[in-house]
């Protein structure tokens, strides 16, 4: 037990401690990043063609308000100022990404120039945010090129970020190269009003069920899928349950006149 260091404060500090430039991939130290940035242009000439346009900064994914906090006025020590915190996902990582990440990114940019909207390296994993019209072409070279050779699309899933306007739905592809023993992640950001993306089933037949599940749970439409039907929910189900705006429902349990509300309407302790 460490009662001395006020764990609640430490907890809040941890939540605020969001590194806008998270650690680079294997082997890259912050110190030699600048030195390597010049060098990387020579060894990996295609990295410059990675992006379609200047990468956009990631958007806020959550805003939390609480009763207690330091407030915004400098002299306010009352503690009644209110808590106001914003959260963003790990942001854009500029090349060099470190280790084999650069080799893979360079090869991808050579074969499909301008495929990425941004790249994020976080916790030793690399995520390429892919322009949706380039996804299928990119998947094909990722599988077929000997230097890339990502044979397996391990998983396709979705994430719903209702606060990211025009990029609410993300389709997330986990790729595995058994040949090179590497993993990368592709992510396609889609507008909720136009949730269409090309199916990767022609390249990765194993994505069939995974894409059906992502359609079922999030409503992302995979164009060209051989049979995009619901897989977990009943065929006549209305709505896509994993979306954040999907009501949880719940059965009001009455006890002496009071009813227990569904979970998303209950008091939260995670502010």
């Amino acid at each position: 037990m460490s009662d001395e260091n006020t764990p609640a404060e430490a907890n809040a500090k941890r939540a605020n401690d969001i590194d806008p430039h998270p650690q680079a991939g294997p082997g890259a130290e912050e110190g030699d990043r600048a030195a390597r940035a010049g060098e990387i242009e020579l060894t990996h000439p295609h990295l410059a063609a990675l992006y379609t346009a200047a990468p956009a900064e990631p958007e806020v994914i959550a805003t939390r308000r609480g009763m207690w906090g330091p407030g915004t006025e400098p002299g306010d020590t009352s503690g009644f100022g209110g808590l106001h915190k914003t959260y963003v996902l790990p942001g854009v990582t500029e090349p060099p990404f470190g280790g084999w990440f650069d080799d893979v990114a360079d090869k991808m940019a050579e074969l499909v120039p301008g495929f990425a909207t941004r790249v994020s390296v976080h916790r030793g994993e690399i995520t390429f945010f892919v322009a949706r019209e380039k996804l299928l072409a990119l998947a094909r070279v990722l599988r077929d090129d000997a230097a890339l050779r990502f044979e397996v699309c391990v998983s396709v899933s979705g994430v719903h970020y209702p606060e990211q306007v025009h990029q609410e739905l993300h389709a997330v592809y986990e790729l595995l190269s058994i040949t090179h023993n590497r993993r990368i992640r592709l992510e396609v950001e889609l507008d909720d009003a136009d949730p269409h993306v090309d199916s990767v089933v022609p390249v990765y037949p194993m994505a069939n069920f995974h894409e059906r599940e992502t359609w079922d749970m999030f409503g992302i439409v995979f164009d060209g899928h051989p049979g995009l039907t619901r897989i977990l929910m009943p065929d006549d189900w209305v709505g896509h349950p994993q979306r954040k705006d999907y009501p949880l429902g719940g059965i009001p349990v009455e006890f002496k006149g009071a009813a227990v509300p569904p979970p998303e309407e209950r008091r939260r302790y995670d502010q």
Binding site: H122, V172, D270
Partner: protein, 451 residues
Amino acid sequence: MSQQTQHDPHDVFAGPDETVSGPAYLANGADWDQVVESQRDRSDETIVVNVGPAHPSTHGVMRLVMEMDGETVVSLRPSIGFLHTGIEKNAEYRNWTQGSTFVTRANYVAGISNEAAYSLAVDKLLGITDALPRRTSQLRVLMLEVNRIASHLTGVGAGGLELGATSVQEVCLRERERCLDFTEAVTGLRMNNAYIRPGGVQNDLPEDGLDLLDELIRQLRKNLPEIAEFTMDNPIFKGRMQNVAYLDLPAAMMLGCSGPVLRATGYPWDLRKSQPYCGYENYDFEVCTADSCDAYGRFVIRLREMDQSVNILEQVRDALAASKAEPYRIEDPDLRWPGELTVASDGQGNSNEHIRHIMGESMEGLIHHFKIVTQGFHVPAGEVYQAIEAPGGELGCHLVSDGGTRPYRVHLRDPGFNHVQALPLMCEGSMLSDTIMAVASIDPVMGGVDR
């Protein structure tokens, strides 16, 4: 009776105002030659047979829709979702520690694997993977391997049962019960343990834990070979399994197969070796392969993997003896569960010292206990994917945190979900009875498939 086997043009199951879509054929029993005669004019037709969702050989509630030409499967469509319980959605409304309790119920036969994939993903998101004490990883490996044996015993036993070999199931369940008894002694529960948690494990080994482990190893060493002895050379067993549910390496790659299905093609891919986690690189074990690409190969691999798991148990036993009384979870007070949970004869609970401390000695301790238990800890915003080698193959956990005390998104990539896709390729063109063997050979657990 024989008259009723003639096709009756009216659908006897249709309601009074339903239009008849086609003749219904009833098999009410007749002499065989009469049945054959009555069906002669339809001999080139295919029929659609529905198996499940509640059928004893579908490993839970899976439905197989098969188009049959006689006894031959023309096409097969697996239909799943009957056990969808919204585990991933539910986990978004509970704190990070409670997530273990939910994901363990996905593949309930290998629940510890789910907990491990989830907890390792949270550890990675917290950035504490390298800070975990060695005893944490040892305890995780211990329970993972005991659970792997229990899961393989279920797969092998259920496979035997589906062939009609009830004694295989009896022996396997007997040995599995030993594994579950040990699991209960360590975690307090037979199944749905929530033992492996973010930042460590729920509790340390009980005082007699190593003795119980020694006894478990002794029993498994003695009894596991028995299963191989009365099955592997059995001509009926081989006749039903060899060259059945054939899936070679290109097909397995195309369908993203992993685990015993991939290793039965001769490809030695095991994430415990290729992308080690929990310190698996410190243990000496073999990756078992077969080159027959069939149900028999997968069966043999499961038997041999159980032996390898016992090898790991012996090594982890020595490692645990060496790390006795060392911390068994992360020491950071902002992350670890307050107090020491114990498993005692009267069940699980907090230690008396901790209760005395927070109730009688320290207001701050009480506040801290309340904050960690009720609110939970914050996990920095980010996204990770962690894969482990579950008994069925690659089990992945894709986690997104928005910086709060609850997961923003939890996705489990269950090997069974992926392998069910491979059933049509394994079964089309084969006999109906081989389909049952194909399902048994991929050992899907519908809790994990449907989540």
